[in-house]
């Protein structure tokens, strides 16, 4: 990992100068209009994945990057665009340039962060990494590719500052966007169930409770259905020291889908 990071820094140092000359103003303008709100002004990531990386997990070459810009990613917050061919190409080129920018080195210690994650942090109660843990919260196996350091730190301190959002509920091939909406149900039989919405359509809903149990209902079986938009059951880790928070973020940034 460290060796790869060195290579990344070398490439970035080389690219920094090139970027200053080669940046396409139109591409930059398009990026700031269409992309920066989620991916950050310089691709550092936010509610959308970090783009200032040499390896984009879903776009391994220019063709796949162009396809994603045009068509979006079903089931995620990434929308399709109707930019024309030339604009998409300019945008793709700019995003690829972002990948050559230097990435800020995490200040924390990833090894200490891993211990904190598995131990006192209690993260495994809700999250999974490479199949180990719980499906209640977002899977973190590749969170280092999908979120930037700043966003992760904010999520730890103030989890409701930027909860996952969605655009459309339904896209062919996917049931629902992965937005971990908190719901509270009261069945006609009198049972109360709190959890995250896994799936929903016009007549049914699936809810996973904190124990990991999946509940399935026709909505006609429910007396009450409350959706707590903007809420999350993720606790604040404000009680951790700044060093511990930095360690945790450093560890999360190492999670890049590698097994």
């Amino acid at each position: 990992m460290i060796e790869r990071f060195k290579r990344l820094l070398l490439c970035c140092a080389f690219a920094l100068t090139a970027f200053g000359n080669a940046a396409q103003p139109d591409g930059k303008q398009l990026y700031q209009t269409h992309c920066a709100a989620c991916h950050g002004q310089t691709g550092e990531g936010g509610s959308g994945p970090t783009l200032a990386t040499l390896r984009l997990v879903r776009a391994t070459n220019e063709a796949s990057l162009i396809k994603i810009i045009k068509e979006g990613i079903a089931g995620t917050e990434m929308p399709s665009s109707r930019l024309d061919v030339a604009q998409v190409k300019l945008l793709a080129e700019f995003v690829q340039e972002l990948g050559r920018l230097p990435v800020e080195k995490p200040v924390g210690d990833a090894v200490r962060g891993a211990r904190l994650y598995a131990g006192r942090g209690g993260c495994v109660a809700c999250h999974a990494i490479n199949g180990e843990g719980s499906a209640y919260g977002p899977d973190l196996s590749d969170i280092g590719l999908r979120r930037g350091a700043k966003h992760l730190l904010t999520s730890l301190i103030d989890p409701e500052a930027d909860v996952p959002k969605s655009f459309l509920q339904f896209r062919p091939g996917t049931a629902i966007t992965d937005n971990f909406l908190q719901v509270r149900l009261l069945t006609r039989a009198g049972a109360r169930i709190n959890g995250v919405r896994v799936n929903e359509d016009s007549f049914t809903i699936h809810v996973r409770d904190a124990s990991g149990r999946l509940h399935s209902f026709f909505k006609s079986e429910l007396r009450e259905l409350h959706k707590d938009w903007g809420k999350t059951s993720m606790p604040s880790y404000r009680k951790l020291t700044q060093t511990e928070l930095d360690d945790l973020v450093a560890y999360l940034l190492t999670l890049r889908g590698d097994k």
């Binding site: 665009s81 969605s166 655009f167 929903e200 359509d201 016009s202």
Partner: protein, 542 residues
């Protein structure tokens, strides 16, 4: 025991097969009858059939059958399912003629199916050029029938006629050059001895038109250009040379009044969609309802819903004809729930605007003036930074059919709510055959649009009831004399609602998206209801 039982069972199977074969023969035999213009004109007198795209020339998409009704619809069960072999979104409305279903599956496969058993009778296949392009997939929305021929338009802009008995090609004519971005996706409309066809390509800078062809020979009889050339009325509404690439496509099947001999056909957006700088003016006849003489194609009147459209709010929604008393006077009316979020009621003799009101949330107009022209609000045009407007470019509704029930006097429409978008404007340079849009729309994070079935008072547009669906949907509706409204969802539900209250009386999860219009028919006195979900034609009965 077994030895005696098996032959008996075998005999029973043989007998059952013989009955089925005889029924199929009956079905195919009766299909020989010609589908005359008079039969289509009087479609309501043969409710066992579905003879034209919207059920009748008035485009009611209403079945006079009542065997399946509010008291027994809960017993509805699948009778059979036909699986199409070719993948892709199926937006077609099937036709039903004397027990045989005619289905345009995908460009360009046409299949005749026995409506009783679901068995195919014949299939016609035609290849699509790989370089034919359109904005929104490669849909085909259905067929027309007249005499002993079926009529199909193709994605590469041909009009073709097939023998109704065999599926053999009878004629094939080129309507437009697909390499310039012309596509054909709408079901033709058969009127008298003519086949009326529309064209798509509003995102490619086409010059739109509506054509009439001789049903027997395929010879073109007239063409109405929806973007007038210099010297023609309406050309003054286009600045410079912009009329040449003005769009105004005709990609949804219109309606017809046999007494007035007028075709009512809606038109789509001007091109380029989101940048109107080079096409200053109202841009006639984009986003219009046209009333054309069916014999000559001459324009009798027009009504424009969205002058100088820069939001891609095509008016390609099916117009619905009905007669009623308005302000104490008996009127011939035409109604449309438009993509721009307003419901319109016009006099179909003169085109006079009578009433109009929004039926979903909109933020672009303060209302309609006395002539029905929208009073646009300031700062609503697309911009480089994006301009937030309700509705988004998907609009309030779209090509999927509304329904009108003479029984309830209600106009049923599947709408999309809570779907604002940021509209962007970019430069638009025309290259023949390429996208020519000049911008686009973008969704808002955290805003979840949804579908909603709305029942509007057909005379006032006021809402009587609504059924909220979880997801935005692109499904047509069909009311029936059984007091029901059938519809679908993107999630794969096919459902029946009480036409008076909107209460869900029955639903069936068909497993994949429903993006077409339902129909109903009967065979041997038994009513069926059909829809397409995914690649399956699902047919239900009691």
């Amino acid at each position: 025991m077994k030895k005696t039982f098996l032959p008996l069972r075998f005999l029973c199977v043989l007998c059952a097969s013989a009955v089925k074969i005889s029924l199929v023969l009956l079905v195919t035999t009766t299909a020989i009858a010609q589908v005359s213009y008079d039969r289509i004109r009087n479609a309501e007198t043969e409710p066992h059939n579905w003879l034209t795209y919207s059920g009748n020339y008035q485009s009611h998409r209403y079945s006079p059958l009542s065997q399946i009704n509010t008291t027994n619809v809960a017993q509805l069960k699948p009778a059979w399912v036909y699986q199409m072999r070719d993948p892709g979104k199926v937006e077609a409305t099937p036709l039903v003629v004397d027990g045989v279903i005619y289905l345009s599956e995908k460009p360009h496969v046409v299949t005749a199916l026995d409506g009783y058993t679901g068995r195919p009778l014949w299939t016609y296949r035609r290849t699509t050029p790989s370089d034919a392009r359109g904005c929104c997939g490669i849909p085909n929305r259905g067929l027309a029938v007249l005499g002993e021929m079926l009529y199909l338009t193709t994605f590469d802009s041909h009009v073709i006629a097939l023998d109704i008995h065999t599926g053999k090609l009878r004629w094939d004519v080129v309507a437009a050059d697909y390499k310039l971005g012309y596509t054909m996706t709408a079901a033709p409309l058969a009127i008298k001895d003519k086949i009326i066809v529309g064209v798509g390509g509003g995102e490619y800078g086409i010059r739109g038109f509506l054509d009439a062809y001789d049903a027997k020979t395929g010879q073109r009889l007239w063409r109405f250009w929806t973007v007038p050339a210099p010297g023609e009325a309406g050309n003054e509404t286009w600045s410079g040379e912009s009329w040449k690439t003005g769009g105004a496509p005709t990609w949804v099947t219109g309606s017809y009044d046999p007494e007035l001999n007028l075709i009512y056909w809606p038109t789509g957006n001007p091109a380029p969609d989101w940048n109107g700088d080079a096409r200053l003016g109202d841009n006639l006849f984009s986003d219009c309802l046209l009333a054309l003489d069916a014999d000559t194609g001459k324009l009798r009147w027009h009504f424009q819903f969205t002058p100088h459209d820069v939001w891609d709010w095509d008016a390609n929604q099916v117009p619905v004809l009905f007669d009623a008393v308005v302000n104490g006077k008996s009127r011939k009316l035409i109604a449309q729930a438009n993509r721009n979020a307003f419901y319109y009621l016009l006099d179909r003799v003169t085109g006079e605007f009578l009433r109009g009101a929004p039926y979903i949330k909109q933020t672009w107009a303060s209302g309609l003036d006395a002539k029905g022209r929208p009073i646009k609000l300031p700062n609503i045009e697309p911009s480089a930074e994006g301009t937030l407007v309700y509705p988004g470019l998907g609009g309030a509704t779209n090509w999927y059919s509304p329904s009108y029930s003479p029984q309830t006097g209600l106009f049923y429409v599947l709408a999309r709510e809570n779907h604002p978008q940021y509209f962007f404007k970019t430069d638009a340079v025309y290259h023949p055959g390429d996208l020519f849009e000049g911008g686009g729309g973008r969704d808002l994070p955290g805003v979840e649009p949804y579908g909603v079935v709305k029942a509007l008072d057909a005379l006032t547009g006021k809402q009587r009831w609504e059924l909220r669906l979880f997801s935005p949907a692109m499904t047509g509706l069909m009311a029936t004399a059984g007091g029901l409204v059938f519809g679908g969802s993107s999630e794969g539900y096919f459902y029946a609602l009480d036409a008076r209250t909107g209460k869900v009386l029955w639903k069936f999860m068909a497993g994949y998206q429903i993006v077409n219009n339902p129909v109903s028919y009967s065979i041997r006195g038994k009513q069926y209801v059909a829809t397409i979900a995914g690649q399956g034609l699902f047919v239900f009965t009691r």
